[in-house]
Structure formats: structure tokens, C-alpha cells
């Protein structure tokens, strides 16, 4: 969420800045329109480094003025100041809050060139090879469509109007320090294993923390949730009771709210197993510490984000938004995202912009033939290494639940606070 995205942005920016600085003198925009349209882009900047903006201007002549805030702030802005931006990049699990407000319009899928190529995970809830994806939580395929452009509730069926045009998504799991654990980890239940007493951590962001907690509780065999992403009050009580007991017995070294905190906990060895996000793993590795984004048999917790059009964007600006979205899905950005370990919404276009080795490593779970580098040039893997969790099919096909907004959100936040206070 908030810090996750913020820090992804920081991670991207760090490198993007240097690339942009070296490239600035060499590039001149290919198209210089007489009156370039500048889109005010509200988002968390996960997927918009400086070089993306430069490429956008080269290809389309569009400019983007970035309003970079946290995920929570994105939601607040959409609800309170819908006229302060032209396009918004937000997460699917925010939609149950955003759609009833009527402040975002359905996007016309007929105007999205690559719509038919958007991965079926979003449109049908299955992987490209037909594997069923876990749909617990606010799964994108459940909130993908609106009845009409002005719809304030989700459509049960496929319609012409999409709530968000998907851009970026990933499957999250536990991070571990294999050098300090020294044995295979295969289950979410290990987070509460007394063996790691005082050396485990989870995150203090209730809406995500509770999902990870539910994965653990289910893995321990304590309870099987009908829907982890929409618990009843008694399910919340049960989940929090187990975590409160673990906390009281000193299982957790710390909770974290900030991406950097999770990196520090792991890199310093204070913690050997914890809820973590993928760029944090890369950051720990870059400090020379062994760290794995451990695939677990119960599956992953996934998240996804996409573009929405606020109701105040009209005419030429709206046309520019569609042009921008079409450019975004046309492949270059997709490759850029895939190279960071995220996934792009339209896979075939992204493939054209990636080398065979890159595609094999990131998407097919094959061993790298040469060094694998990030868009910023940092080395992420050497020849012979494989991606943690393997191929796209294995990782996205292994999704058990999605980040969610629960009906009992208020109660959940309170119970979470009680656990922290216990």
C-alpha cells in the first residue's frame, strides 16, 4: 500500500534519475507538437520513472505532470478533490471506496487498442494458460466492469466499461534469510513458528497485515476462511486472537510500516522471516545479504493497480488520457515493469521489447543465460540463476487472495489496533 508504493517509486527513481541524467543530452523529442497537452497524473509513481516520461514525450508528444502521493492519499484525493488531476493510477482494492462516490468514470474498452490482449487474470480470473487464480479479497476480475460509463456499482457481467485499465501487479509472499534459517521454508505457518521467536516481523498496515495473518492462520490449520478478503467479525476476532497471543509471547521482533524499515530489519539480521514486498528483497540483496522471496505452498497474496478517468476530465484532455493509456499498454512500459520483477497487463506487447533471455528469466522461470539487469542497470541475477517462485504461470497461478477492502473494515482496524496495544 502506501509505503509499498512509495518505496517502489524510490527504488525506481534512484536509478532512473541517473539514467535520465546521462541520457538528457543525447535525446531530443521526435515529435514536437505546437501545443503539448500536459496530463496531471495522480498516483504513487510505482510505474513512472523519469525515463518513462521521456519516452512518452518522444513517442506521443504528451507530457505528464506527476502528482506523487501515497495510496491512501490517492483515495482521499479522488474522493475530495476529483478536479485536481486528469488521470489517476490506483489499486483495485480501493475501488469499493471510489466507485460509489461517482468520482471516476468507467473507461471505454472499445477505445483501448490492446484491450483484448489484457491478461485474462484481470478479465476472467484465470492465467493465460487457463489455471484458475484465487479470487478471495478484492480480486480485479470481480470489480473490473461498470454497468455504464457513469455507473456507481460493479457490473456482474462483462460490459464495455472498465473501472480501471490494469497496469501493474504482482504476487507477494514472505521474505526469508536462508543463511540464518538454514532449512527449507515452505509454509506461511512458519511466520508463527516458535523457532523464530523474536526474529519474525509483519507489517503494521492493517488491511494488508490481516491478509498475511489469514494466510498464516489457514496454513496452521486453525481455520479455513470462506473469503480471507472479506472476513466476518468472528473471523477477524479469531485471526487477531492468534496473532495477539504470538505477539504477547514475543514472536515478533518488530512490526514495520515503511519499506525501508523492512529492509533494515532483514539486512541487520534482527529478523529472519517476515512479510515483505519484492523491491525490499532486491534492496537487501544489494547490501550483499542473502535474501529470498520464498514461494510457499499455500500461495501468494496478490495486488494490482490500474488507470481510471475522473469524471472531470473531458474533451481533448480525455482523448489524451486514452492516447496515454494506449501508449502505456503498447509494450515499452510493460517491458520496463517486467524487468523490475512486476508484471505488465498486456504480455504480448511487452515481450517484443524484451530479449529472449530476459523473457525466459522473468516470465518463464528459466535459468538466466547471462546477467539479468534492472532498467537502471543494477545487476539482479547472474547466469544460471532462476527467479524466486519461477514462471508467471507458477507465480500468478499460485495466487490465493488479493489485497482487499472488507465490509467490516472499521471493526478490523479496531481489532488490529487492539493487537498492537496488547
Amino acid at each position: 500500500m502506501k509505503n509499498q508504493l512509495l518505496s517502489r517509486r524510490q527504488a525506481i527513481k534512484l536509478g532512473a534519475g541517473t539514467v535520465a541524467a546521462t541520457g538528457l543530452g543525447l535525446y531530443a523529442p521526435a515529435v514536437i507538437s505546437s501545443d503539448p497537452i500536459t496530463l496531471r497524473y495522480l498516483g504513487t509513481a510505482v510505474s513512472m520513472g523519469d525515463e518513462v516520461q521521456k519516452k512518452l514525450f518522444e513517442d506521443t508528444g504528451l507530457k505528464v505532470k506527476f502528482i506523487a502521493v501515497t495510496t491512501d492519499e490517492v483515495t482521499k484525493r479522488v474522493l475530495t478533490q476529483p478536479n485536481s488531476f486528469d488521470i489517476v493510477d490506483t489499486e483495485y482494492f480501493s475501488l469499493p471506496k471510489l466507485v460509489p462516490s461517482g468520482n471516476i468514470l468507467g473507461m471505454d474498452t472499445k477505445r483501448i487498442k490492446e484491450w483484448d490482449n489484457v491478461t485474462s487474470i484481470f478479465t476472467k480470473g484465470i492465467t493465460p494458460k487457463g489455471k484458475k487464480v484465487g479470487l478471495q479479497g478484492t480480486a480485479p476480475s470481480k470489480v473490473m466492469y461498470l454497468e455504464g460509463s457513469n455507473g456507481k456499482s460493479f457490473a456482474g457481467d462483462v460490459t464495455q466499461y472498465a473501472t480501471l485499465i490494469p497496469t501493474i501487479y504482482n504476487a507477494d509472499t514472505l521474505g526469508i534469510r536462508p543463511d540464518l534459517i538454514g532449512r527449507p521454508i515452505t509454509s506461511w505457518a512458519e511466520l508463527l513458528n516458535p523457532e523464530f521467536k523474536g526474529k519474525a516481523a509483519t507489517l503494521n498496515i492493517p488491511s494488508i497485515g490481516i491478509m498475511d495473518a489469514a494466510m498464516v492462520v489457514e496454513a496452521m490449520g486453525e481455520y479455513k476462511y470462506p473469503d480471507k478478503g472479506n472476513m466476518t467479525k468472528s473471523e477477524i476476532d479469531l485471526t487477531m486472537k492468534i496473532f495477539t497471543e504470538a505477539k504477547k509471547s514475543g514472536q515478533f521482533r518488530a512490526f514495520w510500516t515503511d519499506f525501508n524499515e523492512s529492509v533494515n530489519l532483514m539486512a541487520s539480521g534482527e529478523v529472519v522471516i517476515q512479510s515483505m514486498w519484492s523491491p525490499a528483497i532486491t534492496a537487501v540483496k544489494s547490501q550483499g545479504k542473502d535474501c529470498i522471496y520464498q514461494p510457499l505452498k499455500e500461495g501468494y497474496r496478490a495486488w494490482a493497480a490500474g488507470f481510471a478517468l475522473p469524471k472531470t476530465t473531458k474533451g481533448k484532455k480525455a482523448d489524451a488520457v486514452y492516447e496515454f493509456v494506449n501508449w502505456y499498454l503498447s509494450g515499452w512500459v510493460g517491458a520496463y515493469l517486467n524487468r523490475q520483477g512486476y508484471y505488465s497487463a498486456v504480455l504480448p506487447t511487452a515481450k517484443q521489447y524484451m530479449s529472449e533471455d530476459e523473457w525466459g528469466f522473468w516470465m518463464e522461470g528459466k535459468a538466466a543465460k547471462g546477467d539479468i539487469v534492472s532498467p537502471t542497470g543494477a545487476k539482479l541475477a547472474s547466469a544460471g540463476e532462476k527467479r524466486d517462485g519461477g514462471s508467471y504461470e507458477d507465480r500468478m497461478g499460485g495466487v490465493a487472495c488479493w489485497n482487499a477492502t472488507m465490509d467490516e473494515n472499521k471493526y478490523m482496524v479496531r481489532k488490529w489496533n487492539e493487537m498492537v496495544a496488547a
Partner: protein
Amino acid sequence: MQFSLGKIKPHVGWLALPFAWVFFAYFVLPLVLTIIVSFWDYTDYAIIPDLIFDNYIYIFEGCLSNEGGLCLTFKTYLSTFFFCFFTWLITLVLGFCVAYFLAFYVNSIPLQVCLFLVCTIPFWTSNVIRMVSWIPLLGRNGLVNEFFLSLGIIDQPIQWLLYSSFSVILALVHLYTLFMIVPIFNSMLRIDRSIVEAAYDSGASHRQIIFNIIIPLSKTGIIIGSIFVVTVVMGDFLTIGIMGGQQLASVGKIINTEMNYLQFPGAAANAVILLIITIFIIYVMTKFIDIRKEL
């Protein structure tokens, strides 16, 4: 409290206007809005103008029944009071000693100024950096643990050095002792030295001088410093969060979480209650001394 404009000459009264305006725009107005919003209703995506007490009732839900131990609100305030009290006590003792040394043992004024500036050096960096700098020192593999391990004093790293009440209070004391030093030092400078000399000449012991002369005469500074420290710590959630490993409760964190989940009226109600409690503490403190008279 007495505040009479009548004593101010009419033709200079307008000098107060700019500050009065700032005070109104940035303090009174937001405060009034907060109080109003605390009575509003809300959903996941909207806040609805209303006049309901639900937000306040919700805060104290389960607090009267006492089943399953203390309710969230009482527990949180208890934890906040705990940090507040110990931080106040330690900063008071430390601040008083430092100020006393500066005021009575350092005789040259340039040296006094110089040493005073030394006290402010930590404030040249942001308070987050000052906080975070403790982490490599206190961690499981931190310098302190490694030092003790190498001396053989301990054979297991001490866990409670970091992410504990200890580390929270340590960081709070580190951050806020200066807030005590400055007002106490200021009061001490204004103590007439001849009184101290007279006491000394009359055969008063060192102890008697401190307890019968210095402390009563620095009371204003002590109270002002205490108000600074108490108000800052009552609202703190950053220090308690970072140094407590997010595992310790604070009122500020609860408000922060509610804001993030768009529960503005709930957060406003919590803020109003925090404000009332903090004002009450300050009210009790000012009962010990009439600050206006002493200044």
C-alpha cells in the same frame, strides 16, 4: 485566569492583530473544524455532516464492562501516560542538572553561551535521523551488544535494548531534554545571586540552597519545560513507532491509522479527547504556579 486588555494602551493594541490573525487561522479555525467533524457520520468513502455522538461512544466501547481486560482506549492511554511520565521525569532531572551546572558553575558568559550552543547541536539534524541513529547502536547485532559480548559480560545479545519501552524512552529523552534545559536555564539566570550568597553566609547547606532557593525560584522554567515535554510526548507516534518496533500503542498512532482509512470523524473525536486530556494535565501543572505572574 485573568486577561485584561484594559491594561494595554489602546494605541498599541493593534500590534497584536497580525499574531491574533495567525493564531485564529492556524489554530482556532482548524480546532473548531476538528470538533465539528468529530460529530459527523462517515462511511468508507464519504463523511456526512450530522450531529451524532457515535464516534465518542465507539472510542469508549467496552470500557465500562471491563471484560477481557482493559479496553483499547484505556490501554492506549495507559501506555501513552507511561511514556509521558518517565520521559518527563528523566528530562526534568537531566534538564535541571544541566541548567544548574550552566547557570551556577560556569562563570564566564562566553563559555556559558558556548556550552549552551553545544546542547543544541543534536537539533541540527532531523529528529527522525536522531532516532534512527540509535538502531545500529542498540540492535541485536549492534555496537552495544557486540561490545558487551566481546567483554564476556553477556553471552546472549540483550533483546530489550531495541524495540522496547526502554528504547522509546531513551529516544524521547534524547529528543526532548533540551526543551527542559532552555526554560529552566532561563529562570535560573534570573535568580538574584545575592540571595544564594546570603543563604550561604547564613550557613545553609548545599542541599538546602537547592531545595529552598533554586528549585522554588526556577519553578516557572520547570513548569514551562514540563508543558513542552508533556504536550509533545502525548501526541507522539513517530518515536514510539520507530523505536518501539510498531508494537507499542500510542494515541497518535491510532489517530494516524484512522486518518489513513478515511475515518476522519473517528480520528477527530480521538484528537478532541487527547486534547482535553492534555489540557487537563497542563491545567493541573499550572495550578502549581501562576505562569503569567512569574514571567
